[in-house]
């Protein structure tokens, strides 16, 4: 009797111990996140000003603003999404709605997964040889956008596929049974239902595109270019590359530190914003569904 009581206590102690460790580690993860955020926000907040956001870099990037980089990143995001979003969504529709389960479908899926797994620097190399050199775009917004677009293509495809898959087949059958064609079914039933999740995926890929550095290193990013681009064949500055440059190889690394903090803060702000927006959207739509 006392023996079993003892085992019970040991059992309980073991659990307490294990759970304690799990709690501690989880807390650490959260602490790391908060530390990074707090560190950059606190240091960066001192730098952020209207002038910083809208001004040109000055004095070897130790003073002034990061306006061209913000504009550049914005253009790259728009450019890449213009390519990725239609191609990705259409591709996901085709594989999910049209293709029967075959080796070819599995092959395409495998290719999409592989594309997702390729390191971003490889995309950079590829973008440089295809868009910059072979197609002759030079270092330009279009080359950078297409490279970034390729990088996010699997993300968009996957989230769209997930969104489409989450729609119960009975809705499609219901539509077909009423004499709707495939296209009508997709347009009027499937896509409207998948829309919230597709948009959420799109927003998250905005976050990804705006933070990527490696793919734009050799395709678009300019080291120092205190003017705004005139065409899609111009080079631009971009926030992540700018941060890299001024924190490692600027004319004066120490003096441009505050600028780096500011840039990092802007980058983080974009990510935060994107996440909040995506979560809010998700919650809004799921609530709407529940209400229904």
């Amino acid at each position: 009797m006392s023996n079993s009581k003892n085992t019970g206590r040991i059992k309980h102690l073991k659990q307490q111990f294990a759970f304690g460790i799990f709690r501690l580690f989880s807390l650490m993860v959260v602490a790391i996140l908060f530390f990074i955020l707090a560190f950059i926000i606190v240091r960066g907040a001192k730098v952020i000003s209207w002038n910083f956001l809208t001004g040109m870099p000055e004095e070897g990037m130790t003073k002034g603003g990061i306006f061209p980089a913000i504009v550049g990143t914005f253009l790259l995001v728009i450019g890449s999404l213009l390519f990725t979003f239609p191609v990705g969504v259409l591709s996901a529709i085709y594989t999910n709605e049209y293709m029967k389960d075959s080796w070819y479908k599995r092959f395409i899926k495998l290719m999409t997964n592989n594309l997702a797994g390729i390191p971003s620097i490889v995309f950079g190399l590829f973008g440089m040889s295809l868009f910059v050199n072979t197609l002759g775009f030079g270092d330009s917004i279009i080359a950078g956008s297409l490279t970034l677009g390729l990088l996010t293509l699997p993300v968009v495809i996957r989230t769209t596929e997930e969104a489409l898959k989450s729609i119960d087949n009975s809705f499609r059958e219901g539509s077909y049974a009423l004499g709707a064609t495939k296209l009508q079914t997709i347009r009027k039933v499937v896509l409207p239902m998948a829309f919230p999740n597709i948009i959420t995926g799109l927003i998250l890929s905005v976050g990804r595109v705006s933070g990527e550095t490696a793919p734009i290193l050799f395709t678009v990013a300019a080291y120092f270019l205190p003017k705004l681009p005139h065409s899609i064949f111009d080079q631009v500055m971009a926030l992540p590359y700018h941060l890299y440059v001024i924190s490692t190889s600027g004319t004066n690394v120490e003096e441009s530190r505050p600028m780096a903090y500011g840039t990092a803060l802007v980058l983080i702000a974009i990510v935060l914003l994107v996440n909040i927006l995506a979560n809010a959207l998700r919650r809004y739509f799921s609530k709407k569904v529940k209400m229904n």
């Binding site: 073991k14 294990a18 395409i108 490889v122 050799f218 924190s247």
Partner: protein
Amino acid sequence: MRNSIKRFVEKISESILFLSSTVTTLSVLLIVIFLFKEGLGIFNKDPIEEGQMVVINKNNPIRKVVSADIKNIFDQNITNWKQVGGKDDSIILFRMDDIGNYFTEEQLGDTFQFVPQCLAKLVDSIPGIIAYIPSKYFNKDFPARELPMEKITVGSFIKGKEWFPTAQPAAQLGVYPLLIGTLIVSLGAILIALPLGLATAIFMAEIASERLRKILKPLVELLAGIPSVVYGFFGLVVIVPFIQQVFHLPVGETAFAGSVVLGIMALPTIITISEDALRTTPRAMKEASLALGANKWQTIHRVIVPYASSGITAAAILGIGRAIGETMAVLMVTGNAAVIPHTWLEPVRTIPATIAAELGEAPHGGLHFKALFALACILFIITMAINLFVAYISSKNKMSKR
């Protein structure tokens, strides 16, 4: 009529959709073609810049010298032909810059029109000479012998202990230190991230209340969303100085710093995938364990974790994959020394960081440029293998759980 229009529209849209679906496959294909076309260009070539060559005296019996020895010869680490299997004769180095030491300007001519003759004379007269000259001077009558150099092979590329692509005259293209650097940083990252990530995943999936989980989940997503360059920057301004101080190092930019930063970056991947895997454990299985008198912890480590083990493995492997491919953060914190590290606290250089750092300076189409593409090929193969492996694990897993 209406129906035939309907059908026509239907067909057209299907073709458009089909074309879109081929874009990923096409991209992968193009990536492979472009990478490997350039990357494979370095193999079976002399490790020497095009238009240049290394010549020796006609009578020098030496047959073949590996490129590492060439570098050592020109660095004057090897000074006697004996050391590379030749006669006992000291080595006389000659670079084009040295030509002034042997000939006067008059001898060379106003427009250097006499250079070829001078060179011929020089090479012919010094038996122990080794000369690095533009190959345009080397013709039928040139009284010297080209030093046959070992061509770059896949083996020498992988096993080569030195990465010095700009070395003159023979580029040192050994990936080994980079490979080791990549692996050591990634392995370290996963050693840091796996326990933390797995613990967090278990905590989120099994221990935390639903409310707490709803707070943690977006936080983890946020961690995943932070750009790598920000992590790199954070590593540079916080972790690197910290490591330098704690371990009393001359520089803080070390493999360890890279591991820490990459570990943090790999956390969201590991947490999300393992948590998903843990959550797939059927409720009935958990309840069965609890009903038999197991407590929560016993249920977790005897039922849930084993059930999710393949998912957790996939998480770990994908985490490694991410770490191996990560560029910017590593580039910023590891110090980028292309030497084989002996401890964690030394600077290293990884493959992606090498590409990022050197591509800007490598002349287009040159040996160095191509070598960087070859690095990208290696990276591509590694990540492809990891992806296929993970796909294999999860497909096997799906089968067995059906």
